[in-house]
Amino acid sequence: MDQTFLVNVFGSCDRCFKQRALRPVFKKSEQLNYCSLCAEIMAADGLHENETLASLKSEAESLKGKLEEERAKLHDVELHQVAERVEALGQFVMKTRRTLKGHGNKVLCMDWCKDKRRLVSSSQDGKVIVWDSFTTNKEHAVTMPCTWVMACAYAPSGCAIACGGLDNKCSVYPLTFDKNENMAAKKKSVAMHTNYLSACSFTNSDMQILTASGDGTCALWDVESGQLLQSFHGHGADVLCLDLAPSETGNTFVSGGCDKKAMVWDMRSGQCVQAFETHESDINSVRYYPSGDAFASGSDDATCRLYDLRADREVAIYSKESIIFGASSVDFSLSGRLLFAGYNDYTINVWDVLKGSRVSILFGHENRVSTLRVSPDGTAFCSGSWDHTLRVWA
């Protein structure tokens, strides 16, 4: 076919801006006009770009392979083998000691207050309630402007709570005991995401909040000003959970998402320092081991897993053929020996973290267990469920 270019345009070249005879060049659906010299350079660049992309892809593949090799080299023993000589756990008795009733719909999240007694819970019905778990009394209640309040957290001081969900925000409510004050009036909007808020947590003080969102990012905010301090990009899909490292171990946190990845972040730089991709489905919950050297995850693939940060690998899988429903939330006992995990089959399984075996199975909830946290002094744990209730087990 005839490839004669009809030069009927004379003007400014889109690349060198000199007045030349121009040819139309099409990139995707865009038309640019280049002089003949620039047209040739661009054609060569295009080739170069393709080479660069291909070489980057192959470098990525070889780096991934190298990573696997390095991890495998140091893998000389399994955790449960090291734990063979450890004394087996005795009879395990934990029962529901309190049932907190009051939510009108699914309980989605809960968090303990540092006083080991109060807790906050949030629900699909838009309500956030602060309870005294000893007496089961409701101390505060606020109705959010949205339904599906998927995240809530207690401030370290015990003087405020944070919550959010389908409103794409994280708001902070100071807790007041003044009967005349309307809790909702003092509401402060802190975080703004472009999709639902899935998790939130105060850092060591009431001054900063860390959030995770369906928009695929995590973010650190200053509560007073609402300013974004740092954002964390890297997940390829919704981020569903996060947990801050125990304060002694420094400024990191772990997040889990629908991309099946668990990522560990440096809070100051915004950099991802380690990533783990062994789960076969969404990661619903992540929690640091009390020493800060490891973390556990619960996933829709019906397994919970333990990842050691210093070995940089998965070191245990907590699963059984009979467990086929997703794990929605996990937490460790104070010593890290026990892992409590709530499942979508309404049960709570208690795992021996070292030996990898199940120690106990707890029944009681009448629908999915959606949230679970051990109390600050380890004497009890609380679970929240789609059956509208929360249960305190001890």
Partner: protein
């Protein structure tokens, strides 16, 4: 430009992988030993493991005193 977006994204991926490759790792045996050590050292402070009595666990029912 059509190609440059993918190149920038791939560069980030490669940079991230390079960072992760640099990590100092410990042997599994060392990591496992440390996890075990931590559990055992702290077991006595872990209420579900030590078997908490009614008097110390606020959630457990109090024993009723009866006058003899």
């Amino acid at each position: 430009m059509s190609g440059s977006f993918s190149v920038a994204a791939m560069k980030k991926v490669v940079q991230q992988l390079r960072l992760e490759a640099e990590l100092n790792r410990v042997k599994s045996s060392q990591a496992a030993a440390d996890l075990k050590q931590f559990c055992l050292q702290n077991a006595q402070h872990d209420p579900p493991l030590t078997g908490v009595s009614s008097s110390t666990n606020p959630f457990r029912p109090q024993k009723v005193c009866s006058f003899l």
